[in-house]
Assembly symmetry: C2
């Protein structure tokens, strides 16, 4: 299939009769418009056929900063929407060193053995600075990257979590339209990115390590509350005993949390991604979760709530960025901050003043 937009657009344009008195600029506009239209359709066609090149190109459009690209991305997304929403979306988090890549490699490979189509995405707002701390290096998932039923895409880059999350969320739609039925979204266990990932997945898996005081120290209660299952990884060799102990402790701790709205009691399991232990058990748990929450309609309700959350979140982000990126505001904000520091104005009077400049 030919998905190169430039060539095909050129070919088609050759047959178009050009009206007289039209400036070369508007001809070029017409050409460009036509090219965008043609290739959007071709991209959608390709995506729906499961063509990976088309999928990758559409994701590149979603990630672009160019407004023409974004317009095109929106039209591709709109056309893909009716074919999306039919996958299971799994979020995976854990601190660096917990073995996320090894786990996803084992888990993803396992899924493809019974013909699941697995897309692996990531939300990592820091990747633009660190040049890809997670998934940046596909070689970490050597087998999965060569697997025909798998598609791995590193985190979009960007300075704001909101922006990176938006791109990943739209990429989910494209992957689903391309026939991927299991979407794995990885994130690092640091900062706010878990909340963003939690708000775009059906099932949230927290990877932990046993020992080293990890059960208590540095635990983020908020993340534990989000987890539908905690998997204690690297439960192998000398670590096995400690991992089993940690499992008991986490189980006890989880029972003290209030019951979830989903009516699902979070599970704790041990696994060894290295030895492929516990991987199939996790899949069984996920399937149980999906049946249970589909039965009580929580599954659908959650997706709806997530969509509404993203609508409101996007609007808020946009309102803020429009305001604070204005040159006039930037300059006056610095002045008002100085007045606040010297107690010459209140934060509320300064806010009124700045909002009045809009």
């Amino acid at each position: 299939m030919n998905t190169k937009p430039n060539k095909s657009a050129l070919k088609e344009n050759q047959g178009i009769p050009q009206p007289e008195m039209v400036s070369s600029k508007s001809i070029s506009n017409i050409k460009q418009k036509r090219r965008l239209l043609t290739s959007s359709e071709k991209l959608v066609e390709g995506i729906l056929e499961g063509n990976i090149t088309a999928l990758s190109r559409a994701i590149t459009l979603v990630e672009s900063k160019n407004s023409d690209h974004l317009k095109k991305a929106n039209s591709v997304l709109k056309a893909c929407l009716p074919y999306a929403n039919k996958s299971i979306r799994i979020g995976i988090t854990g601190v660096p060193g917990v073995g996320k890549s090894t786990f996803i490699e084992a888990f993803g490979t396992y899924l493809t053995t019974f013909n699941k189509k697995v897309a692996v995405l990531a939300v990592d707002p820091s990747s633009s600075i660190t040049k890809g701390s997670i998934l940046g290096d596909k070689t970490r998932m050597e087998d999965l990257v060569k697997n025909e039923n798998a598609f791995i895409r590193p985190s979009a880059s960007g300075n704001s979590l909101g922006g990176v999350a938006r791109k990943t969320r739209e990429t989910i739609i494209l992957c689903e339209a391309a026939g991927f039925d299991t979407i794995i979204i990885e994130t690092v266990g640091v900062g706010q990115s878990e909340t963003a990932v939690h708000s775009m997945v059906d099932f949230f898996l927290l990877l932990k390590l046993a020992g080293a005081g990890d059960e208590l120290q540095g635990i983020k209660r908020g993340i534990i509350e989000m987890a539908d299952t905690i998997a204690i990884n690297k439960a192998d060799g000398d670590n096995l005993k400690r991992a089993k102990l940690a499992k008991v402790e986490f189980n006890r701790a989880l029972h003290m949390y209030p019951e979830k709205v989903s009516n699902w009691q979070p599970k704790v399991v041990t696994c060894s991604a290295l030895n492929n232990d516990g991987v199939s058990e996790l899949w069984t748990i996920i399937n149980n979760y999906i049946s249970k929450t589909s039965e009580n309609n929580y599954f659908e309700k959650k997706r709806n709530d997530q969509n509404k959350y993203w609508l409101l979140q996007t609007i808020e982000d946009q309102l803020k960025s429009e305001f604070f990126n204005s040159k006039k505001i930037k300059k006056e904000l610095i002045n008002q901050m100085k007045l606040i520091e010297t107690n010459k104005t209140t934060p509320f009077a300064a806010a009124d003043y700045l909002l009045g400049l809009k």
Copy 2:
């Protein structure tokens, strides 16, 4: 002191020569403007003299929804600013039943015995619905309410935490200008209101109860992280032993948290507000905290950061409320939500559409 604006304004107006050809409407405007000006000045004068009636009236203006009142409130605040910022601001939180009112009664009364002037405020966004769940009933602090060196003001009402918090924060300034040197801000240990209170105080005290699994169950890690001191209340009678055990446990737990930016190691104490035990010890702790953080400049830095936080927060709140309260947006938001529910649009396309209507 006469702080009744109507009377004084009327009196002054009698001597003003009225120009011809001025409509009665503009005369009334002039009168109103003059009245507002006069009484602002009188209010400020009263506040700086420590007049409680003037202080209460100014707080009522801050809490008003009327835009003329708010303008007047802003001018009063501006005039009070140079006299504010000279108190110690203490936040107190704890779940319902922990004994906050009894504690504040004992603590506040203790402070007034050595001529401290104590203002007790509250942040409780739910109070507009429950008609005052905290501080609504002043009779809970029977002694303090009659104490000449104390001023108790129930939580402002309002639907949004942002609004209620803003009003409380401005009230702090008025109380400080009126000579109150210790400001206590109470909040319930539920929801986001602790974060709001934490962002307007120098010292944050968490009241806890021993036993009943309270040390683990229902603990909000975020709140514990904010606490500068945890006081285990009701350490009396049969409870004393359990309270002492809880103290040991909390001390152990606190040592596992990372060190605070303030360089302050949070303390754990037991107290019995009922028997007046541990109240003076808490005051010593607060004074140690103030000396330590004043020495390392954290005290001033924190207040500056809090002011900047409130500036940005107020702008964000205002941008959102302007957008979402527009009639056109309200109507179209419902339509877009429906399209999202039926997968006919993405949250991002819907956001674009709605932002385009601005």
